[in-house]
Every structure is written in structure tokens, then in C-alpha cells.
């Protein structure tokens, strides 16, 4: 066993007697004892480097006293360490004074020097440099990230950190680890808002590769985003597994499929929002300050990338916002239907903006306001009182330059101009605003078609799942035991979704509660003797009631699902499928009786 083979060594640090494993450094032991040793070039996940020498301590072994850097010096048996002896403090002060001469404006240096009573340097001061050459970034990039994009250049006093030929490093994966470890803030990640670097689901800012997918996710366990995790890109890092005490990190874990047997299924697969890139005139993805309503939602959330602050791409506060309704809805070019929820959430957005930026000019550009529902109209009236400008007319175009001759350009290079037809005034208008929010409509989920195929249910023309009967059976489908709820069936707001969900659950419960289902008296049946196993019936069955028994090499009909439509009977080339009560002799007998 490896555990037992580790030698334990006795040593004394600042008068405290302690034990340490062989191979540990003085700094590690001191940290355990909560003895503070200052250091500027050490981070526990990279190899000790010993460059700053601030962590120098005094040791005594076999009666000999020496000064050694605690970050890299390994403990020895019987060693006596003094971390704050007079000699140590003297050297530390001298080193800090040296640092202060070159890095007078660097906060960490100033702070540390101040702790040691060093506020000025006796040495010739140079223009303050941010980089203290601690090499943390270079080592992190090499040892932890494995990208090896940074390097030291030159030697001696001319030494500095850079990329090859000072250019853009080919191997940089923009992980930001260097900026993270940099103690002085010398390294900053540029263009963090450039969408290239963004790796959260919304283009508003980075989240860490390890995160809980969304607040209140069940189970509330963090996941690793394999696209941004450094380990999965370069094979390096692995810090999370080092710090995780229960050792719960498993990089090898793969997505798995769970199979279960159930009696009934509720499809509540939701919707996706309209992708406004399809409507180029709104400039989404092209203009910095055009965002979707969902992105606004993410931003305004306290746990969002900006901590709830409402800001433009450059971090400043917008003073005027236009909210454009019906993006992708009620539009023959995209979706003809009304998405039903946009009017109300657009009102909410206006309300939130009013709260965050009380003096902002807020415009709502609508076709008509649709506010049916409990308290909805009242909310609209309240917004009118809050001074939100309502313009009846759909937003037509968003551009960086005014397009109408009548518009007076505003002296700002980051303004957006929203063109619309104000149908109440009967004239075209162009609004200069700082930010545009697109109230995107609801569309069937991306894989709705696939889901419908798997469950053998039908979809409507707009792509949402079709109910058995729009008035009498809005949660049932033509397949028994399969129910639909929420936006999978069509756009609806939260109360409606909840109601339909509850109804579907109740319907499913009624099946479970009965414990058994009454079969249709007339179903189709396969004569196993005759079936050739051609599988023609499997394709034609609209209810997915026929499966194939690989062992017997014959088709099998599930009586609970069979609706006795007769398709398979007609299609079966070998005549192996018949319908109970409607076999050939019976039909012929009936015909004979009729014709007689």
C-alpha cells in the first residue's frame, strides 16, 4: 500500500512541532498550520518555481542555518523553520523594496510591501511595470492548460512575457487561465464580449465550463461543458478533480440512454424561440446592441452574466430602448400564427427596464396589444402610466444609419435606428435608440417532427402536435395513452401550460388508476404460420401497434394500440393478417347474405 510507505518527518515551524509527509514543501506544511508565508509566484496547481523569493524562510538542519525558498524546499527530518525571523524579514523587506522600484503601481506589491512597512524604495524608481515576471501565466498555460501559448522572451532584466513574435498565439484556446492566475492584472482577456469567446447558451457572457445548467435544475448537480473544459480540449488542467474531495469528477463519463417501461406518456416538449437571424432586417447577430427577449431575460436575472445590470455591449447603460413585437409571429414570411405570450412579456420587459433605468425612453412597437387574461389589461394600463411609449406599427428595420430623409441623425456612433409605420399617426417614423429588444415568437421545438414520428402522432400545419379534437380532446392524441401538454401543442402562456399539464397528468393517472385498459373488440391479428416476416405491416400501421418478433421472425400486433383500421390487413402480401370478426369467410358470408 502506498499510504503506509510514505515516510513521516518531524519538523518545527515557528515553534510549532508538526509532522509532514516526505516530499512536501515547507510552504505546504505552513499552509496546513495556517502560517502565512507571502509569495508572489506560487500557485498550488503549478510546479514550484522559486522566482520571487519572497517566500524565503530560515531553516536550521544539523545546526546549520540557511535561507531557502519555502515554495520549493522540501521538508527534512528534524528541520527547524523560522518564517518570520529577523533575517527573513530583513531579506523580504529588501526584496519588496527592489520590487517597489520597478512595480510601484502594482497593487499586490504595494500591499505586501506596506505590510512589511516598506512604502518607499531607496532605489532608483523606474516607470512602473505591471508584469512582475512571476511566470504564473506561462506555467499555467503550459502545465495546467497544456496550450503552451505564452512564453518568456529574452533574459535578464529584459525578460518579459509574450507570445511568439508578439503576435496572436496560434495555440491559445482563449480559456483565460493566464488572466485568472495573474496576480497583478497585467493580463486581460480582450473582446470577452466578442461572440467567438462566448460559451454560455446565450451570447451575453461566459460562464465557467463547470456549472449547474440552470437555477433549480433537478438534480442540482454541476455539469462540465465539454466544449469549453480545458481538460477535454488539451488533456491538461484537471484541477477540479484535484480539489474535489469526494473525488466525484469523472472525465470519462458519457451521455447515457435510460430505458423504461411505461403505460402512458405525456409529451411536453415545449417550444423554441424564433431565430431572428432569419429576419436580417433587424440586424440581430450583426449589430452589437440588438438582443432577443430571452437574452434580456438572462441579463436581467441577478445570477446572469452581468449580475442583473442592464448594459450595452460596451458595458454602458442604454438610455433608450425599442421593444419590437411579433418578430417571427403574425408574419406570412415566417409564422402566421400569434405566439400569444409576446405582448405580455414585452410589457414585463418594459416594466423591468423602467425599474433598472428609470429615465430611459422605452418604445413598444406593436401590431395590436393582445392582453386577455386575468389582470393583463390592467398591467397594460399601468405601463401606459409608467410613461412607456406605445407605437402602433410593426418595426420594419434596424440600422446603424438613418434611412429616412426626415430623421435627424444623432451625434453618437453607437445609435441604432428603428424604422416603423406609425399607423395611428399615419406616417413612417425612425427612432434613434441605444438598444433594440426583439420579442421573438414561439416555434415548435427543433426536434418536434422527430418526436412526432417516434410516437406516431400527427402534427398540425404549423408544426405543433395535433390534439385528438381541438375542443373535446385537447390533451389526447390519436394514440391511446399518449397525451400532449403546453407549448408542444401550440403557443400558450404559463397559466395555460400549467392547466393543460395538470389535465394531461390527470388523464394519465386515470389510466394508471384503472390498472387495466378495455381493449377494442375488433383488432387485427397475425397468423404466425403464414407471416413471412416481410415487415410491410410495420410501415403502414398509423398507430405504431405492430412490432417485430426477431426470434420468431413474425410481426406481432399490440391489441391495446390497434384501432382496427385495417391498413395492415389490406397491405399484407401473404394474407397473414386478418381482422377479428372480419375474416374473409365472414365478409364473404356477409356479402352473400346481402346479395341473396
Amino acid at each position: 500500500m502506498e499510504e503506509t510507505s510514505v515516510k513521516m518527518l518531524k519538523l518545527t515551524i515557528d515553534g510549532i512541532e508538526t509532522e509532514a509527509r516526505e516530499g512536501e514543501t515547507i510552504l505546504q506544511v505552513a499552509e496546513r498550520l495556517m502560517i502565512d508565508i507571502p509569495t508572489l509566484c506560487h500557485w498550488k496547481f503549478v510546479k514550484p518555481y522559486g522566482a520571487c523569493r519572497i517566500c524565503t524562510v530560515e531553516i536550521e538542519v544539523h545546526g546549520k542555518t540557511r535561507m531557502v525558498p519555502s515554495c520549493s524546499y522540501k521538508v527534512r527530518d528534524g528541520m527547524v523553520v523560522k518564517t518570520r525571523s529577523e533575517e527573513v524579514i530583513k531579506h523580504r523587506k529588501m526584496l519588496l523594496e527592489l520590487m517597489l522600484a520597478r512595480h510601484s503601481q502594482v497593487e499586490v506589491v504595494r500591499k505586501l510591501a506596506h505590510e512589511y512597512g516598506v512604502d518607499t524604495t531607496r532605489f532608483e524608481e523606474m516607470p512602473s511595470e505591471q508584469c512582475i515576471n512571476c511566470g504564473l501565466c506561462v506555467r499555467v498555460c503550459d502545465e495546467v492548460v497544456g496550450a503552451n501559448a505564452l512564453t518568456f522572451v529574452k533574459r535578464g532584466t529584459e525578460r518579459y512575457v509574450s507570445t511568439p513574435f508578439e503576435g496572436e498565439a496560434e495555440s491559445c484556446i482563449a480559456c483565460g487561465a493566464c488572466a485568472y492566475v495573474c496576480p497583478t492584472g497585467h493580463i486581460t482577456v480582450q473582446d470577452i464580449r466578442d461572440r467567438k469567446y462566448v460559451f454560455s447558451e446565450l451570447a451575453l457572457g461566459p460562464t465557467t465550463p463547470i456549472h449547474i445548467p440552470f437555477a433549480a435544475a433537478i438534480p442540482g448537480i454541476p455539469v462540465i461543458d465539454s466544449h469549453t473544459c480545458i481538460h477535454m480540449q488539451t488533456g491538461g488542467c484537471g484541477i477540479c478533480s484535484k480539489v474535489c474531495e469526494p473525488d466525484a469528477i469523472d472525465y470519462e463519463m458519457q451521455d447515457t440512454f435510460e430505458e423504461m417501461e411505461v403505460g402512458s406518456i405525456i409529451l411536453a416538449t415545449g417550444y423554441k424561440t424564433f431565430d431572428p437571424k432569419r429576419a436580417e432586417q433587424y440586424g440581430y447577430g450583426r449589430l452589437d446592441n440588438v438582443i432577443t427577449s430571452l437574452e434580456f431575460e438572462h441579463m436581467s436575472h441577478a445570477s446572469g452574466p452581468t449580475g442583473g445590470a442592464f448594459v450595452k455591449a460596451d458595458g454602458s447603460e442604454p438610455k433608450s430602448v425599442a421593444i419590437l413585437h411579433c418578430i417571427g409571429s403574425r408574419d406570412k414570411n415566417y409564422n402566421e400564427y400569434c405566439s400569444r405570450v409576446c405582448c405580455m412579456y414585452s410589457l414585463k420587459i418594459a416594466h423591468l427596464i423602467r425599474e433598472k433605468v428609470p429615465d430611459a425612453d422605452i418604445y413598444e412597437l406593436y401590431i395590436d396589444m393582445r392582453c386577455p387574461g386575468s389582470g393583463y389589461e390592467e398591467f397594460y394600463n399601468r405601463l401606459l402610466e409608467e410613461g412607456v411609449h406605445f407605437i402602433r406599427g410593426k418595426g420594419v428595420e434596424v440600422s446603424q444609419m438613418p434611412t429616412l430623409a426626415t430623421t435627424t441623425p444623432v451625434a453618437s456612433n453607437s445609435k441604432l435606428y428603428v424604422k416603423c409605420e406609425d399607423t395611428l399617426l399615419g406616417m413612417p417614423r425612425e427612432l434613434p435608440v441605444d438598444m433594440v429588444i426583439l420579442s421573438v415568437g414561439l416555434e415548435p421545438a427543433a426536434d418536434a417532427e422527430e418526436v412526432a414520428r417516434v410516437f406516431k402522432i400527427s402534427s398540425k400545419a404549423d408544426g405543433f402536435f395535433m390534439e385528438k379534437h381541438p375542443k373535446l380532446a385537447p390533451i389526447d392524441t390519436l394514440s391511446d395513452g399518449i397525451f400532449i401538454a403546453g407549448c408542444a401543442q401550440g403557443p400558450k402562456d404559463i397559466p395555460d401550460s400549467v392547466a393543460q399539464g395538470a389535465a394531461a397528468a390527470a388523464a394519465a393517472m386515470s389510466l394508471i388508476d384503472a390498472g387495466e385498459v378495455a381493449l377494442e373488440p375488433i383488432t387485427s391479428v397475425v397468423d404466425e404460420e403464414v407471416c413471412t416476416g416481410c415487415k410491410t405491416c410495420l410501415v403502414v400501421c398509423p398507430y405504431g401497434a405492430i412490432s417485430f418478433d426477431e426470434e420468431k421472425h413474425v410481426s406481432v400486433i399490440n391489441d391495446a394500440l390497434c384501432k382496427a383500421c385495417g391498413c395492415c390487413v389490406a397491405a399484407c402480401p401473404s394474407g397473414a393478417i386478418t381482422q377479428r370478426g372480419f375474416d374473409d369467410t365472414q365478409i364473404e358470408a356477409e356479402l352473400a347474405a346481402l346479395l341473396m
Partner: protein, 636 residues
Amino acid sequence: MPKIETAEQVKRFQEHCKSALDRFPIVVSLCNGTACCAMGAKELAAAFEKELAGDESVKFIKSGCHGFCEVGPLVVVRPLDVVYQRVKPDDVPEIVDRSLRHNEVIDRLLYRFGDGGKVFAKEGEIPFYSNQSKVVLALNSLIDPYSIDDYLAYGGYSALARALEMTPDAVLKEITDANLRGRGGGGFDAGRKWNSCRTAAGERRHIVCNADEGDPGAFMDESILEGNPHSVIEGMVIGAWAIGGDDGFIYIRNEYPRALKAFGNALKQAREYGFLGENILSSGLDFDIKVSRGGGAFVCGESSALFRSLEGEVGEPRAKYVHSVERGYRDEPTNLNNVETWANVPHIINRGAEWFRSTGTKDSPGTKVFSLVGKVENTGLIEVPMGITLREIIFDIGGGIKGGKNFKAVQTGGPSGGCLPASSLDLPVDFDVLTRAGSMMGSGGMIVMDEETCVVDVAKYFTDFLIEESCGKCLPCREGLMHMSGILHRITEGKGKPEDLRRLVKLGDAVAAASLCGLGVSAPNPVLSSIRYFEDEYLAHINEHRCPGSVCSALISYHIDPAMCTGCGTCEKVCPVDAIKPVPDEERKDGLLREIDADVCEKCSACKEVCPEEAIVVESPAVTTEHYRENVTEMR
């Protein structure tokens, strides 16, 4: 050439080589060292080759450095045993005719000491040589470094044959008993080092030779590699046998192209003869040596940096709390010794530990090669027994200070060593004594300074050198040295402050205590030791704005001594800035013919170099031209 496979064959072949050599009744050995080459040895060689073409009786050797570089190019004729110095191609026919054909000594080419002083003909008589005891350098003037046969003729590789017949333990014991200490600077016990490497855990063991002789003013290793490369190879193979080495490396600095060539050739020959390669002399030992070239970085002489450089990385030192014998090259056990140490090994095996200990001192036995340079009469490469005094080296061998000036200091150990004053002259030279005196043995550079050298300037020079060479990894060395240099520059510019000295000492102590590698730890030595022994010179700079050595240009002024000046005008011609003008007749006083305008003068010393009368004088602290003119009588 079939491979030599047994010790017996080595012996037979040695005899064969010897008899081949003995066939020549006359041997002419021309020093082909770097310095002699720069002084025309190449042309000389061509002249000899032309003159001796077809002559079967004369063996002409282009040998390695003879050591006496001061008076090169050197030619030694044997068996006449005469040394000719400063030989020119025109002298060649005369040498061939008179000395070779008629055994006559050509008087005018002999070495003379002092003004028309004593004439020395034989190598053994010249004080420069007679006070030395050559071991490692013994063969330098006798053999052609490009000929393995020559080396064999003088008993080369017999130590290897002998060692391979001994057990590795016995070889190890011999080296340990000899108390051979590393010649690279630290003076670490080689036997102990070998033993730790042998016993260290690891799959492969590496044998490395450090030939990154970065100390400015030192060329011992270069001369050994150029003059007798096989001795280093032999030493390394013996080391591999004793330690159990699997492969060998030699790290040669790129500034030594000639050493690289000579050593590369020697490796090739050794392989052909079977002294390198598989199953060396049927002993079962497989060993070969690879050459690695340095890249011009002093810090790579530091062992951990050297290994990084060998691995193809940047030569940055690492924390060395694990010794390189355990984790060196590729983190595997590695035994690193320098050129001279390896070259000593065959001699110890051949003649025994007892013999080795018979020279030198108790704690530092053996001989040591020094390059004696600077302001000394006889510059060159010397090998002396340990324990010899500095005085003997500088005055007996070195012939005293150039131009009869006064001795001021000697710097040993290169940039990491220290300056020792006249009071230390009688110190015996060994590892421990020098360290105690605030300097160190180093690899053997010995730079002599006379009264016209400024110790502050030298300290500044070394500090600047180290700044340039520091890898910049750790803070104390990178920043500390820079500020030390800043203070020194200020002092030499006459802007020093009284508190500067204390600050230098404190800063130096901090750099020495806190630096990561040997370079940083020893970097303040030149400054600290010079402050220790020459505080008054520092104070003269700071308080009186006077440079006692008349070196620091901000503190000096050039003038013409009217008493010496003959008015020849040579100085006026060479002055690049036209600062020298004749004095108008009406202003002439005390025979002043020409004058240097101190405002224009850039102190380039061009005039001083050319003046045949040595009439150019340097004043410190600097005075104006007018002041000098007014007070010339007193000033003289």
C-alpha cells in the same frame, strides 16, 4: 583500421605509435592555440609546411596551446629543446636551415626577460615554465591534437585499459582516495559525486562534461580541448566505467569553434579505434559521447541550467535541492564534471592516488590550470600545484606586473569570484583558502590588475556582465544586480553618495542569500570583496571624485605633459574629435606645445596609445585645460 579489442592490443599499438614517432629525429612543434593563431601561427604553419615539404626527418606538429601566449607564436624545436618566440614567417627558412639542419640556436628569437636581460633558450629554463608543474597540460606541446596516434605514443588510453581491468569499485576508490576535487569552481569531491551518482536510483545514468567555460578571462578548458582532447574522452570513459554511465555528453560553448572541431575529430578517432562505442576493449562497457553546443549564455555553466540546455530547453536553473547526481539530465542521475577534472582522471588511474596526493595541499591535492591574464608580463596558460602562493604565480611565473607598475589586485574565480589585494598575495591557492578570503577558485581564471586599474570599474564590469547573463528568472538576481549596477555606475560617474557603500553591501547580502542558483548567489562577490579590500577606492570616487586607477572617464581628464612632449603631432592626427591643438605661441609656457581641450576630448585614449614619448597624462579628479596649464608644474 581494425578496432582495438584488448588491453594487450592497446599496449602493442602504443609501442607501434611510439616507434613511428621515433622515426623522426627532429620535431618542430608550433603552438596553434587561439592566441598564437591570432598572431599569425597560420601563416607560419604554411611557411613551415612549404619549407619542410618532402623532408622525412622532421615531424612538424601543429600542437595545442603551449601556454606562453604572451610571446606567441611559439615554436619549439626538439631535441635541440629550444623555444623560439614571436616567430614570423620570414624567420622560417632560417630556423629550418640553422636549427633543424645544423643544430644551431638562433639567438634573436629566444625569450629575454627584462631590459636586455637574461636570455633563455630551453623550455625548462624559462621562469614561466620552470615554476610550473604540468600534468594535464603536459602533452599539449608534444602531440598533434588531431592525431590519436600521437596520444597513444605518449601512453594515451593506457589508463582506460588499466581501469577496465579493475572493478568499477576499485576505480571509484582510486578517485576517492586521490581526493580529486571538481576543477569547475565549487571544488566538490569528485569521488563522492561519482559514488552518489552510481548509487542514485534511476534507469539510465549520464556522464556529462561541462565545457561551457563562460568566465571571461578564462580559457583553460578551451586549451585542453584543443590541445589534448583525448585525455578528456579517456577520463569520461573511465568515469562511465566507474559510475555505470550509459551515455555521455559534452557541452561546449559555441564561442569555441576550434575546440569543437578538435574534440569532434578526437571522438571520431576514438570510435574508430574502439575506445568509444560498444563493448569497449572487450569489457562489456557500451559508451559514447555526444557533443552539444552552447548558445552563448553564461548561466548554462550552472549545472541545472546546463541540463535544461542539453535537453533543448532554455537554460534556466531550477531549484537544486535535489542534487543533479540524482536528478540531472532528463531528471535522471547525471554526473557532471568539467573538462579539467575529467582530464585529471587518466593520470590518477595511471599513477595512482598516492602520486596525485603528493602534489598540492592536503585538502586540495593535485595541480590546477589557471589562465593568467591581465596586466601581467607573461600572460598565458599555466598549471601549478595547489597551495602555491599568488605571489609565486604572479611574480615568478607571470614575471610581475606589466611595465613594472605596481600590483593592485588579482581577481580569481571570474565574475563569481572576488578581488584580492596585495595583502593576500602570500595566501596559498587552494579551494578553501580562496573562499575564506572572499573570493573563490572558480574554474581558474586569474586576472591581474595593476595600479592603473580601477576596482570600482572592474566591479561594475562584472556586475554588468552578470546582468547581461542572468536568466532573469528570480527577482533578487534580476532586480538586485540591476540596482547594484546602477549604484556602481553612479559612483564611477562621480555622483556617488556616502550611504551608497552600505547599501551595496546590504543589497549584495540579500542577493547572495535569496537567489535561486549559483550565478545569483555568487554574483555580488566581486562587489563585496572589492568593498572589503578596497573601500578607500570607493571612498575616493564618492568623496573626492577621484578615480585612483584613472579609468572612470567621468572622473578623469587627459593632458599633455609639456616636459615630455616633443611636439611630433602624432596625437593630433589620430584624435577623432580634433581636441588636440597646438598652443598659440604667445600662450606657450613651460614648454607646452600642444594642448588637449578638455571640453572636446572624449577620452578615447587614442592619443595615449600613439604617443611615442608617453607624454599624455591622465589627471583624476578631472581638471580643466586652463587649470592644468596654470598648475602644470605642481601637478607634475
